[in-house]
Symmetry: C2
Subunit: 314 residues, 2 copies
Amino acid sequence: MHPVVAVDLGGTNLRTAFYPQGAPPAERIHRFSLGVERGPQAVVAAIGDAVRGVAPAPFPAGLRVAVAAPGPLDPFKGVVLNAPNLPGWKDIPLRDDLEHLLGLPVRVGNDANLAALAEWQHGAGAGCDHLVYLTISTGIGGGVIVDGRLLVGGHGLAAELGHVPVVDDGPPCSCGRHGHLEAVASGKAIARRAAELLAQNPSSTLGGAGVGPLDAEKVGAAAREGDPLARRVFKEAGEAVGRALAGLLHVFNPQRIILGGGVARAGEVFWEPVRRALKAEVMDPAYLEGVELLPASLGDDAGLVGALVLANLP
Amino acid sequence: MHPVVAVDLGGTNLRTAFYPQGAPPAERIHRFSLGVERGPQAVVAAIGDAVRGVAPAPFPAGLRVAVAAPGPLDPFKGVVLNAPNLPGWKDIPLRDDLEHLLGLPVRVGNDANLAALAEWQHGAGAGCDHLVYLTISTGIGGGVIVDGRLLVGGHGLAAELGHVPVVDDGPPCSCGRHGHLEAVASGKAIARRAAELLAQNPSSTLGGAGVGPLDAEKVGAAAREGDPLARRVFKEAGEAVGRALAGLLHVFNPQRIILGGGVARAGEVFWEPVRRALKAEVMDPAYLEGVELLPASLGDDAGLVGALVLANLP
């Protein structure tokens, strides 16, 4: 096991942790505000500073760096192909740039793929061989364990589970297409749908003065307090997730489904319609037999722990 | 390699082949009309007769039997859980019944999974490690090779790729749900959609006297001859397949996609909209890089060859 600096590169935050023994728990976790609007080169420099900020100086022998980054990305080459939530990130050779900057070996993985790896090795997925993981926050990412291995595909681009079609004439998706699961059930989609319904029905508590711009967290809070409009928005999103999960059960026949991300933390207003639609939409009860539907257990650390696992893979 | 009797159990036909060396080509292929309306027990007896009809007597040493059967089925236990196209097939212990009847070791696999295995080992999928296979005939089945292994899932029920949602408020599916790919792009769906449009527009050549009940083959023939209604039906079905395939590219990132089954043999009236929609609906061109979209090469023998491969798996 190598000592590892794990990096989690998000849309608005950069987090790093130093794992001296190459295993959890992390010694220190640092959180940096990223300022992604500065563009890829400045962000690469910020990652370099963040790694130096969390690792001991001089670097311990065998130190490795692993980065969880938004996808789609090519993990074999460490290139971020296209990160819709990071402006200007298109074909960025993140691995090579960081290796050049730090003089350390660097690996790069899709953040949701790595979160799945983390939940499987150290979280809610421990002990099973077939697992589907969805993270539902601003966007929707995914990761799949097939027969005890992370599904990466021919070029490492696999498991973009947020980008499967679920409605034919659906709303636009962050990826530029339309009707994908992400376009109807992500945090962004929830906020947009709530605003749409609010325009038709301003009596909702969400329309109150001082509420400010809508986001999924606010809609979730209103739903938990019983606001009918907010409940309807979560019902629609949860049903779309349940229906997509039924499809993923037919495709992967996993033993466990794990849902992470902020939207999945909204509580029963989200989980109840997910469970109901999943049960209603599955083609045969055999697909549900023994299947556990669980919340992710690593919370915000999933990307870091996943990067740690990646750094120590053979 | 064991000598193998391969059995392909379809909705209307039963085919068997004897492979003396445990490898293609088959020595003899027999085709039997099945009479599936007789129910599972009569069909099991017919399979027994068919195996005896094609294998030498006495059975050669080490002879194995493998059956490609409609899914979903549990390949570990050899139980057909629910075959929508075989009336009365619900939780039928096909493997045990056949072993009892024949006194030979029997394996049972999902027909589309086995066809994928066959195309990968002996057909259009040879030489790649990541492959998505769809068979589009009366229904839609699938099989996936992930990293050089057949995807089977936790209970062996994986890769029912015809049963992924593609439209939200779509037509009923043979599985009892709705809006699945099978419900909009299978042979059955094509025939139904053509009949629907014909009722609104009886001037189509499909409405001519003596055409008889519509099926996908007739609609395909009319489409190739330029009938606008028939072309529209194939365009809609092809686009749905292309869109679903884009989702499967995001999920599996395969190196090759193989399409088999009667509908895929309809020619450019089908393939052109598939290719166009696939290209239009993919989230990033990286998913198409180096990806080949190919017709299946084993034709009607895919199930038999797949059963052969299954029989000789470790």
